[in-house]
């Protein structure tokens, strides 16, 4: 029996896991990071557009601060987020980006003087002040009041991931790739690490730790059409679910991105529209202003995605062998801008579709259609990052439902969340590991190990008839067709029933090769049932939620229903025999909010069933604000009085800005 002991075990080596590992290692803990793939190949590398942080350096971000970032995030979430968490986040984001700059991320910098930009399809001149020259630059992204998204051309995730990964190596974090966690070790509602399969030798090993942090990313591959990397299968969240103890939050909250390229699903960054790109229909008509006169192409993602699908349904899509699509036109930005700032986009379009988007007119338009993009749901955790039900189990990044994003995440807020959560949760996690011991017997560990060994051997020896690839494909189709952008009761109910059937069938597999090592079909065989469980959490959560909020859009319940649905869905998997999750709910309390529910400022108006507490709380907030302003208090003091929040380290310090 191979057992490794460590203080802090981090499962997942994307931005979130790596940043958390640095936090733990810096506190003197012996820290191990596990990853399916070399960590620099994690999905974080694919983030193109950028990272939100309210630095307020450039002209178009002048006057930006935490308050504005907070308000955008809460509105974006359609009031589904945890506002305290949103505050923790916006306050730490400027620190995170400055830390990354010091670690070597070559952020694009402000160039003093005049330059032209395309704003709302018009050439506009922006002049940067001399005292800002050389500070970190930002660009426009959907759903934000200021230009707040910092970037390194369009390879932001890549440069961030490389810096953080190398920083982890510098601090001697023990990073091990091609290691897959397949089950958590837990006892008496406390987590002690994981059973891990070596993806080269096939050997099972126990990693025993004082605390465990899951940072395994999202579950986009439950869907057939997705921008996500092929490894984004949500296995980490499934491990938590399979404990029967830990809960997942808001799994039905799934984001669709407006502009993946058709058919490959490779993302064309929001920066395309942020920089001034337009959406056009079959007639070449720019249609977004017809639906969203104010924000146009830059309304939040859920709104733009739905408007696009609506337009396609209205017969304005462009027919193709891969279904109808619309066009994304960036040629109006000019070749120079594209070749400098949107180079990856150009390359993707050229390589995969044979289109050079810098060519003016129809020839340069890229075919796009909304597809799955981001998982707001995940392991439900407290603001410190610890599971609400299982001690010693932490999570951060896309795998978690910390709940920063509620029912819709803003572009640029995700890579930002990964590093910020890595800093905040990483430190709370490290404190837990420093203050607790391993209290589990070796007998229990070896029992867990044997269980998994028996399970895997059972799979290769299985005498069933089912083909795991077929089951997976069918699951992905169901999710696309019935649990997608437009949802309704009947389709969701069908989806739940069919997914249950698939889960049954996944217990009767036949695998061609009996090899225990490096057997891709075996890997599918133990992953797909886990994925099906997650898919059931998504579908059932969506079926039950009879309202529309953020990315969750029910055609049979079009309104956001604050009266009945201002709550988080919690799913758990009580027993191995179960074919569907158990659902409970967690109320979101308006009385403690800094920003009570209201209209988002985009999307259709008058589509909310209001909660009686909203106006009461709003009046309270307004009064207190007025009183304190009259007494000469500043925005920080007022904010603290409205909704206090804590942060570890010295992260609570005020963020300095040049405009102060």
């Amino acid at each position: 029996m191979k057992v490794h002991y460590c203080d802090a075990l981090v499962i997942g080596g994307g931005l979130a896991g790596l940043r958390a590992s640095v936090a733990a290692q810096k506190k003197g803990l012996n820290t191990i990071v596990l990853s399916l793939v070399p960590v620099k190949r994690s999905h974080s590398a694919a983030a193109q557009g950028g990272m939100q942080a309210s630095l307020g350096n450039s002209k178009m971000s002048e006057g930006d601060n935490e308050d504005l970032h907070f308000a955008d995030t809460v509105k974006g979430s359609d009031w589904g987020c945890d506002q305290k968490v949103a505050r923790m986040f916006v306050h730490t984001a400027p620190k995170a980006i400055r830390e990354l700059a010091a670690w070597g991320v070559p952020w694009t910098r402000v160039q003093e003087g005049a330059r032209t930009a395309i704003i709302n399809a018009k050439q506009t001149t922006i002049t940067e002040d001399q005292d800002r020259h050389g500070l970190i630059m930002s660009r426009d992204f959907g759903g934000t009041k200021k230009w707040r998204t910092c970037y390194t051309a369009d390879a932001t995730g890549h440069t961030m991931l490389f810096s953080v990964a190398n920083e982890a190596l510098k601090h001697d974090v023990d990073v091990r790739d091609r290691k897959e966690a397949i089950s958590l070790i837990h006892e008496n509602n406390r987590c002690y690490g994981a059973i891990v399969r070596d993806l080269i030798t096939g050997e099972l090993e126990a990693y025993v730790s004082k605390g465990t942090c899951i940072a395994t990313g999202g579950y986009g591959r439950l869907y057939k059409s997705t921008t996500n990397a092929v490894i984004c299968e949500g296995i980490g969240a499934a491990l938590a679910l399979e404990t029967g103890v830990a809960t997942l939050g808001n799994m039905e909250a799934v984001q669709f991105h407006p502009t993946p390229i058709v058919p490959s699903g490779i993302l064309l960054t929001e920066g395309c529209r942020g920089d001034g790109g337009l959406l056009r229909d079959v007639d070449g008509h720019r249609f977004m202003p017809d639906y969203e006169p104010e924000k146009k192409e830059l309304a939040s993602r859920d709104v733009v995605s739905r408007r696009m699908m609506e337009h396609i349904r209205n017969g304005k899509g462009v027919p193709s062998p891969y279904g109808d699509h619309l066009w994304l036109d960036i040629s109006i930005l000019g070749r120079e801008h594209i070749e400098k700032n949107l180079r990856d986009v150009q390359e993707i379009s050229q390589v995969f579709n044979g289109i050079d988007p810098a060519v003016e007119g129809e020839k340069g338009w890229m075919p796009v259609r909304p597809m799955q993009h981001y998982s707001m749901g995940g392991i439900r955790i407290n603001p410190t990052g610890e599971s609400q039900n299982m001690a010693g189990l932490f999570s951060c990044g896309e795998s978690a439902c910390w709940d920063l994003h509620g029912f819709n995440r803003l572009g640029g807020n995700s890579v930002s969340e990964t590093v910020v959560a890595g800093m905040i949760i990483g430190n709370y996690f490290a404190d837990f590991c420093a203050n607790n011991d391993v209290e589990i017997s070796t007998a229990t560990i070896s029992k867990k190990l044997e269980e998994q060994q028996t399970y895997l051997e059972g799979l290769v020896k299985g005498q069933g008839t089912e083909n795991v690839f077929k089951i997976k494909e069918r699951m992905q189709e169901i999710m696309d067709d019935k649990v997608g952008i437009f949802r309704d009761g009947k389709n969701l109910a069908d989806a739940v029933e069919e997914l249950k059937e698939l889960l049954e069938r996944s217990k009767k597999l036949k695998i061609a090769s009996t090899k225990m090592h490096n057997n891709p079909e075996l890997e599918e065989a133990y992953r797909v049932p886990k994925m099906l469980k997650l898919a059931l959490c998504v579908a059932k959560g969506a079926r039950e939620r009879t309202e529309s909020r953020g990315a969750h859009y029910r055609e049979d319940f079009l309104k956001r229903d604050d009266e009945n649905w201002l709550k988080r869905t919690l799913t758990s998997w009580k027993s191995d025999e179960d074919l569907e999750p158990t659902i409970t709910y967690e109320d979101i309390d308006i009385k403690t909010m800094e920003m009570p529910p209201a209209f988002r400022g985009y999307g259709a108006k008058g589509m909310t069933i209001e909660h009686e507490d909203a106006s009461v709380r709003q009046a309270e907030v307004d009064n207190l604000t007025k009183e304190m302003q009259a007494a000469g208090k500043d925005r920080h003091e007022i904010q603290e009085a409205l909704m206090d929040f804590d942060l570890p380290m010295n992260y609570k310090q005020k963020n300095e800005r040049v405009g102060d």
């Binding site: 070399p38 620099k40 010091a102 070597g104 190398n166 080269i200 990397a229 579709n353 891709p520």
Partner: protein, 242 residues
């Protein structure tokens, strides 16, 4: 799209070093080519429909993560961004990249090599300065940030090593990828290392003096990095140290 698609043959060198009972061998797979088919799509189709035991590595399938280097009809490329239609004969031969430990079939251990390289060239910012992250960040000349970014675009895919003759003769050669990393930090104003410090890391025949300027790396780099130029630049710097 009702036009008949052509049939293509993909011939793959299969070998599992952990299974000594089977010798390395070529296996041919025939499949129908679909419009816009990449090797990512083709290999997945083979695995789902013909050979569930075929190993290869893809992550992003978008040419961004550097996972899928392999040798296609003699040339190292990123498989995910290689269209099958670029081979008019319809016969495509796939080999694993040389220069790395073979895991199985088309899967090689680039991660292990790149981690070792990163540690060897200390591929991170070295400085004594403490940064107060609550304060406004240090200014960087936009041009300089851009130049550092240009070199930072390397995705550690390893194609440069798979096309490098020096690497064949000197197993410990850090390759264009390693030298490029050093050039990147040499240019970064946050990094306080001197040329002498860099000399300690790469001032030998396994480093910058090993390169024979055969250009294989630059020809195959999917990010079109100016590798020869940077290696020559580093060599001049290092020569002037001693």
């Amino acid at each position: 799209m009702s036009q008949a698609n052509r049939e293509i043959t993909i011939s793959i060198l299969k070998y599992d070093p952990q299974d000594k009972t089977v010798e390395p061998r070529f296996v041919d797979y025939k499949l129908e080519e679909t419009p816009g088919m990449t090797l990512f799509i083709a290999l997945n189709s083979i695995r789902s429909n013909q050979d569930a035991d075929l190993s290869y590595d893809f992550v992003c399938r978008a040419g961004i993560c550097g996972s899928c280097g392999m040798v296609v009809n003699g040339k190292p490329v990123l498989a995910c961004r290689t269209l099958t239609s670029t081979y008019p004969e319809g016969v495509i031969t796939l080999l694993p990249m040389p220069a790395f430990e073979l895991i199985k079939d088309l899967s090689v251990n680039t991660g292990k090599w790149m981690d070792e390289m990163s540690k060897r060239v200390e591929s991170w910012i070295v400085t004594n300065e403490e940064t107060d992250i609550s304060k406004v960040e240090a200014k960087v000349e936009p041009k300089v940030a851009e130049e550092v970014f240009e070199l930072d675009r390397c995705i550690e895919c390893g194609l440069c090593l798979a096309s490098c003759a020096t690497k064949l003769m000197r197993p410990n050669f850090v390759g264009a990828v390693g030298l490029n990393r050093v050039a990147r930090f040499q240019m970064d104003p946050h990094d306080q290392r001197t040329d002498e410090d860099f000399y300690e890391l790469i001032g030998d025949d396994d480093g910058v003096f090993g390169c024979m300027s055969l250009l294989g790396c630059e020809d195959h780099c999917p990010k079109n990095l100016p590798l020869q130029n940077k290696i020559a630049y580093m060599r001049r710097k290092m020569v002037s140290v001693k």
